[in-house]
């Protein structure tokens, strides 16, 4: 590595000298030659230069290592090790101690040599790896603390952006059919509602139900993969991306999550509109119900969507109504707990609703204390 210089560059930081000013174009060029694109979510890059020429790059987005390119001619120079060491420093400086990556199976051995461990692989398309050799086990130990015994134990994974009557319908059907329903609220932070908000809305929505003691609520984790945060940079084909995401997420669920809690059933809403979600539900049967020696099968239950006004209730529909300021429509789509919150919620990305509407009381439910928003923010997901 004598003549190779490793540096870092955070997009958006002021370029100090001409070399820095040339960095964005050089990174884009390197990625392009490797068939990749410059992704906007990369916060900081580790860069390898030789004689001033960019010969390698590695990006950090959250705790994900991505957009890894290393000059083929310099394979023997251990560029990956140098880049990862630099990126670890950058990650730690941002308070992140565990890194993960999705990579082509062909690069898995290199990442393994750098301390990463493969958690799941999907159809030869992608491997999920993380650099914490006991990370899953620690998560499982945490999870085991909320294990409860029961004959039929189910799980529902939802984003709840925000929690609607559709979600509530699905959860109640699961609770009627099973002794226990583990509810996982995805932890990604790319939705209109933050993870803390979504978690609090589900929590409060469930607390108001007669079946409330059958639910066990879990915040998201890195082992429950949202499609929103699934990186796609090294997969070109949308179908491949969908397959890779489903394969990895569902294997993690079957092998790492479900056994800890004794989950043998998974409930999911039918998908009349989104092809991607419909495909995911299809993949769910394949990955959860096929016999595997080491892992018990998980029965998939697809539940018909709740319809209001002849159309299925979806979070998209809720957000549209919210954006339009139609609180009257919202009242038909979300439980009172969510409605109360939406009325009081300070605007996040969208313009504020026009004028305070009269609060409807179609459904019995407790109203939120005024400081609930703050409480929700403090919940860590």
């Amino acid at each position: 590595m004598d003549d190779i210089v490793i540096t870092s560059w955070a997009p958006g930081s002021d370029p100090v000298d001409p070399v820095d000013q040339a960095v964005p174009a050089a990174v884009a060029g390197l990625l392009e030659r490797a068939g990749l694109g410059l992704e906007a979510d990369v916060e900081v890059w580790a860069l390898a230069r030789r004689d001033g020429r960019l010969v390698g790059c590695m990006g950090l987005a959250g705790d994900l290592v991505k957009d890894v390119v290393v000059d083929q001619g310099l394979r023997g120079h251990n560029l990956m090790a140098g880049l990862l060491t630099e990126l670890r420093h950058q990650a730690v400086a941002r308070g992140r101690t565990r890194l993960s990556c999705y990579t082509r199976p062909s690069l898995a051995a290199v990442f393994a040599s750098l301390g990463f461990r493969a958690l799941a692989q999907a159809d030869g398309l992608a491997v999920l790896m993380e650099d914490d050799p006991r990370g899953v086990e620690r998560y499982q130990a945490d999870l085991a603390a909320s294990r409860r015994e029961g004959e039929r134990i189910a799980a529902v994974v939802l984003n709840a952006n925000p929690f609607s009557l559709g979600h509530q319908h699905l959860l109640r059907l699961a609770a009627r059919d099973c002794d226990l329903v583990h509810v996982f609220v995805l932890g990604e932070d790319r939705s209109q509602f933050s993870p803390a908000e979504r978690f609090a809305l589900v929590r409060d929505g469930l607390a108001a139900l007669p079946e409330h003691d059958r639910f066990v609520l879990h915040p998201g984790s890195r082992y429950i993969v949202s499609r929103l945060t699934f990186p796609q940079y090294f997969l070109k084909d949308q179908a491949d991306i969908a397959r890779a995401h489903a394969g990895i997420d569902l294997q993690l669920f079957r092998q790492r999550v479900a056994p800890v809690l004794g989950i043998r059933h998974r409930f999911v809403g039918s998908e009349p509109t989104s092809r991607i979600t419909a495909h995911y539900n299809q993949e769910m049967r394949r990955w959860l119900q096929s016999p595997q020696a080491d892992w018990p099968t998980i029965e998939v239950h697809q539940v018909e969507r709740l319809e209001v006004g002849g159309r299925p209730v979806s979070a998209t529909r809720v957000r549209q109504a919210l954006a339009a300021g139609r609180f009257d429509q919202l009242a038909e789509l979300v439980p009172a707990t969510t409605w109360d919150y939406l009325v009081r919620r300070p605007p996040r990305a969208e313009p504020a609703p026009l004028g305070p509407p009269a609060p409807p009381r179609r459904q019995g439910g407790r109203s939120q204390p005024p400081d609930d928003h703050r409480q929700a923010k403090e919940l860590s997901c």
């Binding site: 590595m1 670890r88 730690v92 750098l114 301390g115 461990r117």
Partner: protein
């Protein structure tokens, strides 16, 4: 020594080790080593002894060993601990006694 923030030290070059340390409610040492078969236990012993010498009782310590010699392992653990804590280096403690 109190671990008050995450820290990392070392590299992934052959003959070195990367040591990561984070605040934790107990002492947990996780080692992966490129020479696990021959030296895995020795690596774990050196790491634990070094942590003990520094009085680190609560931390998650993750070591990626690339065949580092004992003294290099010690140095990387010490550097990570110093970076993760707020106490100034006491050279008497660090160098005192037989190594």
């Amino acid at each position: 020594m109190l671990i008050s923030r995450p820290a990392v030290a070392g590299t992934l070059e052959s003959g070195d080790a990367t040591v990561r340390i984070t605040p934790h409610d107990s002492l947990e040492v996780v080692v992966t080593s490129s020479v696990e078969a021959q030296y895995g236990d020795a690596v774990r012993r050196v790491v634990r002894q070094t942590l003990e010498g520094l009085g680190v009782a609560r931390a998650l310590v993750t070591v990626t060993d690339k065949g580092a010699l004992d003294y290099a392992l010690r140095a990387r653990v010490e550097a990570a601990v110093m970076r993760a804590g707020d106490e100034p280096v006491d050279w008497d403690v660090l160098i005192g006694g037989e190594r």
